[in-house]
C-alpha cells in the first residue's frame, strides 16, 4: 500500500523577531536579533541579564472564544500561532470536520509562570491566594487543550513535553496521525514562555552567554533563553492539492533516539544524534548526499555545537562540508519547546523559497566546528531536502526531513 504523503500548508509563528510568517521570515533573512535585556523578571541577582523575549504580542488579536486573561502565556502564544497558521493555510474552520481536526504540541516547561506564581505566594506565605486557576492553567497539556477549545477542534489532542526537541516530536506525531488516516488536518508545533525557572537553571549550569548567541563560533559563550511558539498546518497531499492550497514542503520522515547517557550533556561521540538522522533519512528514502540544508540545534554552547558538528560529520562524511548548516538561535535565542517547531517552519520556507537564513554573530571560525554555517548573511541556495535537528535534556534526539514539494506521483 502506498503511504499517504503529508505536506505543510500553513505556518504561524510568535517569535522574538516578529509574529506572523512574513514578518518573521523577512527579519530572519536580514539577520535581525531578538535578544535584549530580560524584562520578564528582575535579573539583578543573576550574573547574566540577556534573553530573547517576545515584545510585540497582543493576545486580543488572536483569542476570541476563550478569555485571554485566563490563559497562561505559552497557551496565548500557542493559540496565536495556531490561528496564524490556519489563516496562512487559507483554511476556514467552518469547512473542517472538527472531529478530524487535531492538535499535537510540544513544550519544555508547559506554563512555568503559573508555578512561579504559586512559588512566590508560597514563599511570601500567601498561598491561600492560589485558587482553582492553578489546576486550570498549569499542567502542560492545557496548551494543546486551550488551542482545541478556542478553535473547537475535537480530533486528536496531545501534548508531547520532550523539552527542547519537543516541537519535532509533536510534528512527527501529527505526521503519523495523518499517515494512519486518523485526522484530516493537524496543527503541530511547540510553545514556551520566558521562564524564571529555566533562566535560573541555565544560569546555574553556566550555559547562558553574557551578550550574544554565537553558534559554532570559536569564542561562543553559550545560549540565550528565549520564548515563542511555532505551529504548522499539516494535511495529506491529496486534500491540499484538491483545495488548491499553497504547499510549502512535504514532510517525508523523522527519526527519534535516546542517548541514555546524561540528562544535560550529549553523548561524547554523538551516536544518538547520528541514529536519529539516519532513521529520518531512511524513512524518507533519501541519501545523505541529497540533503541541501541542515537547520542545526546550534544552541551556542561549547559542547552542543562541537558534538553536533561531530555527529553531522559522522553521518554525512565528505558531504558534510558542502551542506549549508545554520542556527537561527543566533537570532531568536533558544525558544525551548518552540525551537524545533519554528525551525521546522524555517526548513519548509527554505524549501519553498530556496533561501537559507544565516547564523549571525559568526566572527571567528572554530577549528572543531569547520563546516559551512552560513555565517552572517542569508543565502540563495536550491533547497530540495532540508533536515531539522533538535536535541534535548533527557538525551532525546529528534530529526525531521522535509522536501521541496513536487507534484503528484
Amino acid at each position: 500500500m502506498k503511504q499517504r504523503r503529508i505536506v505543510v500548508t500553513g505556518i504561524g509563528v510568535v517569535t522574538p523577531i516578529g509574529t506572523g510568517r512574513e514578518r518573521f521570515w523577512t527579519n530572519l533573512l536580514e539577520g535581525q536579533s531578538g535578544i535584549g535585556m530580560v524584562q520578564s523578571f528582575d535579573t539583578t541577582s543573576y550574573s547574566v541579564h540577556r534573553g530573547a523575549e517576545v515584545h510585540d504580542f497582543e493576545v486580543e488579536n488572536y483569542v476570541s472564544n476563550l478569555d485571554a486573561a485566563h490563559l497562561g502565556r505559552a497557551s496565548q502564544f500557542a493559540i496565536a500561532a495556531a490561528r496564524l497558521a490556519l489563516a496562512d493555510a487559507n483554511v476556514e474552520i467552518a469547512s473542517l470536520d472538527l472531529e478530524r481536526a487535531g492538535v499535537s504540541m510540544g513544550t519544555t516547561s508547559g506554563e512555568p509562570r503559573e508555578v512561579e506564581r504559586f512559588d512566590d505566594l508560597f514563599v511570601s506565605k500567601k498561598l491561600e491566594r492560589v485558587g482553582p486557576e492553578f489546576l486550570a492553567l498549569y499542567p502542560s497539556h492545557v496548551i494543546a487543550a486551550h488551542i482545541a477549545r478556542e478553535l473547537r477542534f475535537a480530533g486528536v489532542n496531545i501534548m508531547i513535553p520532550t523539552a527542547c526537541a519537543a516541537g519535532n516530536y509533536a510534528i512527527a506525531h501529527a505526521f503519523d496521525v495523518l499517515r494512519a488516516g486518523r485526522a484530516d488536518l493537524m496543527l503541530a508545533g511547540g510553545s514556551d514562555s520566558f521562564s524564571r525557572i529555566t533562566y535560573t537553571g541555565f544560569a546555574q549550569l553556566g550555559a547562558i552567554a553574557p551578550e550574544l548567541c554565537q553558534p559554532f563560533d570559536r569564542y561562543r559563550k553559550g545560549m540565550i533563553p528565549g520564548e515563542g511558539a511555532g505551529v504548522i498546518v499539516l494535511e495529506p497531499m491529496t486534500s491540499a492539492v484538491r483545495r488548491g492550497a499553497r504547499i510549502y514542503a512535504e514532510i517525508t520522515g523523522y527519526g527519534l533516539s535516546c542517548d541514555a547517557h546524561h540528562m544535560t550533556a550529549a553523548h561524547p561521540n554523538g551516536q544518538g544524534a547520528v541514529r536519529a538522522m539516519e532513521q529520518a533519512l531512511e524513512q524518507s528514502s533519501i541519501g545523505p548526499e541529497d540533503v541541501s540544508y541542515i537547520s542545526a540545534h546550534g544552541t551556542g554552547t561549547l559542547t552542543n555545537d562541537r558534538l553536533e558538528t561531530l555527529a553531522v560529520k559522522r553521518l554525512f562524511r565528505d558531504a558534510a562540508y558542502r551542506i549549508p548548516i545554520s542556527s537561527i538561535k543566533s537570532m531568536l535565542g533558544h525558544t525551548m519547546g518552540a525551537a524545533s517547531a519554528i525551525e521546522a517552519a524555517v526548513c519548509a520556507l527554505a524549501c519553498f523559497h530556496d533561501r537559507i537564513p544565516p547564523t549571525i554573530n559568526s566572527k571567528e571560525p572554530d577549528p572543531e566546528c569547520d563546516l559551512d554555517y552560513v555565517p552572517n548573511c542569508a543565502r540563495d541556495h536550491p533547497v530540495r531536502v532540508a533536515m531539522n535537528n533538535a536535541y534535548a535534556f533527557g538525551g532525546n534526539n529528534a530529526s525531521l526531513v522535509l522536501r521541496k514539494f513536487e507534484s503528484l506521483n
Binding site: S45, Y46, S47, T108, G110, P112, V115, F118, D119, D120, V123, P132, F134, L135, A136, Y138, P139, S140, H141, A145, A148, R149, R152, F153, A154, V156, N157, I158, M159, I160, P161, T162, Y169, H173, D176, R179, A180, R182, R196, I197, T200, G201, F202, A203, Q204, L205, L256, S257, C258, D259, A260, H262, M263, T264, G272, A392, F393, G394, G395, N396
Partner: protein
C-alpha cells in the same frame, strides 16, 4: 499490514503492591490505599486523604546504584521499569544489543522538584538553586532518567494528556510498534503524590470531602460520591512486536487489540459533548480492534468518584457500546487506589492481566447506591467471576481528553 502488539511483562509500583499479583490480591480483598497523607502536611486543606505508597524505597528495585540524581517521580518510574524489564526477560545484555524504547505518560511529572528549585532561588538567591535539580525540572525528566538507569536507547517520549496520559502513552507506543518503528517499547505512566499537585486539586474542589465518614470515600458511581482521592504510582507494560516476541521465546500475557480517542471541546461543561467524546473513544477503540460492542467482557472504568466525571463516563460507555451495558461487568479500581493520574490507565491494564489469568474481577469498594440512570447492572462492591477474553479500559481526563484501550487474551 500492521504488526500485532503483545504485552510481555508488567512493572508496577503502587500503594497496593509492587507486582501485578499483589496489586490484584489487594484489590480483590478490598484493601484501600486511601488514608491520611504522611508525605506532606495537609493542615488547612479540605481533604487530608491520599493514596500514598507507604515507605517507598527505590533501592529495593534498583540496588545500590547512585540514586541521588533521581527525584521521587524518576525513582518510581525507574523502579517500575526494572520490574517490567525483569518480568519480560529483557536482560541488560539484550538491551545493549537491541534498542528498547520508553513512552511515559505523566500529568505533572516533577512539579515538586520544579517548585522546590524555584522557591530556593526566590528565597536565598538564584546562585543557590541546584543544577542537578534543574535537570529534573523538564517534564520529560523521569523518562530521561529511566533511560539512563536502564540503557533504553530507542524512542523516548513523554505524553501529557492529563489523567489519560498513561493510557495515551500505551496507545502511542502501540502505534510505534504497529508501524514498524520499534520492536520493544516500555509504555505506561506515572505521577507522584506531592504537595503542589495535591494543592491544585484541593483548591479546584475536586477532592473527596473529609468528614466523619471520610473512610468510605471515594466511591465511584455511587449517589453519595463527592470527589476523588489523589494517589500515586508508576505502571509500565513491556510492549513488543508479536513476531519479535515469539522469536525471542517471550511469553505473551495479552495483546493490545485497539485504542481510540475522543475529545470534548467543552472540557466537561457540556454534558452532551462530554458523553459523546467518551463514546467516540470507545467506538474508535472497538473499530481499531475489529470488535463489536457485544464482544467486550468487562470494563475497567476511569471513574474516580467525581460528580460529573463518573456521570459522563456511565453515559458515554452506554453510548459507545450501543446500549449493550446491562450484562457488562464493571470495575473501578480508583475506589481503592485513588486517582493516580498518569499511572491510572496502565494500572487498570495491569490489574486486568491478573483477572484474565484467574477470572476474578474486583468489586467497587463501598459502592451501595448506583445512580438510577446509570445503565449498569453488573456493578457493586463484590468481586465477580468472569471469563475474561476482551477487556475495555477507559481513561477520561479533566480537560476533554478521552482514551479507550482494548486488551485481549492471546489466541
Amino acid at each position: 499490514m500492521r504488526n500485532r502488539v503483545v504485552i510481555t511483562g508488567a512493572g508496577i509500583v503502587s500503594a497496593l503492591g509492587d507486582s501485578s499479583s499483589s496489586l490484584h490480591l489487594s484489590l480483590c480483598s478490598g484493601r484501600r490505599a486511601v488514608r491520611p497523607v504522611e508525605l506532606f502536611n495537609t493542615a488547612g486543606l479540605g481533604c487530608p486523604l491520599g493514596g500514598e505508597i507507604p515507605a517507598f524505597d527505590a533501592t529495593k528495585y534498583l540496588g545500590r546504584r547512585n540514586l541521588r540524581p533521581l527525584d521521587r517521580t524518576s525513582r518510581l518510574v525507574s523502579s517500575a521499569a526494572q520490574l517490567a524489564l525483569a518480568d519480560s526477560g529483557w536482560s541488560q545484555e539484550m538491551r545493549n544489543q537491541e534498542e528498547v524504547g520508553l513512552v511515559l505518560g505523566t500529568m505533572f511529572c516533577s512539579v515538586h522538584t520544579i517548585s522546590e528549585f524555584d522557591r530556593r532561588a526566590v528565597e536565598v538567591g538564584p546562585s543557590y538553586a541546584s543544577p542537578m535539580d534543574f535537570s529534573n525540572t523538564v517534564i520529560n525528566a523521569a523518562a530521561g532518567q529511566t533511560a539512563i538507569v536502564h540503557n533504553l536507547r530507542g524512542i523516548n517520549s513523554t505524553i501529557s494528556t492529563g489523567t489519560t496520559s498513561g493510557l495515551q502513552a500505551i496507545a502511542h507506543a502501540t502505534d510505534v510498534i504497529r508501524n514498524g518503528r520499534a520492536r520493544a517499547v516500555l509504555a505506561g505512566g506515572a505521577d507522584e503524590l506531592c504537595f503542589e499537585s495535591f494543592y491544585a486539586f484541593d483548591r479546584a474542589g475536586l477532592l473527596c470531602r473529609s468528614d466523619e465518614r471520610a473512610g468510605d470515600f471515594p466511591i465511584p458511581f455511587d449517589k453519595r460520591r463527592n470527589g476523588f482521592a489523589l494517589g500515586e504510582g508508576a505502571a509500565l507494560l513491556m510492549l513488543e512486536d508479536a513476531k519479535f516476541a515469539r522469536a525471542r521465546g517471550a511469553r505473551a500475557l495479552a495483546e493490545i487489540s485497539g485504542h481510540g480517542f475522543g475529545y470534548d471541546c467543552s472540557h466537561g461543561e457540556d454534558e452532551e459533548a462530554a458523553v459523546e467524546a467518551i463514546g467516540l473513544a470507545i467506538r474508535h477503540a472497538l473499530n481499531d480492534a475489529f470488535l463489536g460492542p457485544h464482544e467486550i467482557d468487562c470494563l475497567s472504568a476511569s471513574a474516580n468518584g467525581s460528580h460529573a466525571g463518573d456521570r459522563h463516563e456511565a453515559k458515554g460507555v452506554f453510548a459507545g457500546l450501543n446500549g449493550q451495558t446491562r450484562k457488562l461487568p464493571v470495575t473501578a479500581i480508583k475506589s481503592m487506589l485513588g486517582e493516580t493520574l498518569g499511572a491510572a490507565g496502565p494500572t487498570q491494564a495491569i490489574a486486568l492481566l491478573e483477572t484474565m489469568r484467574d477470572g476474578v474481577l474486583p468489586g467497587i469498594k463501598n459502592l451501595e447506591q448506583v445512580e438510577d440512570d446509570f445503565e449498569f447492572e453488573m456493578i457493586g462492591p463484590d468481586n465477580r467471576e468472569i471469563d475474561l477474553e476482551k477487556a475495555l479500559i477507559n481513561s477520561v481526563g479533566f480537560d476533554g481528553h478521552c482514551c479507550s484501550l482494548v486488551v485481549a487474551k492471546c489466541e
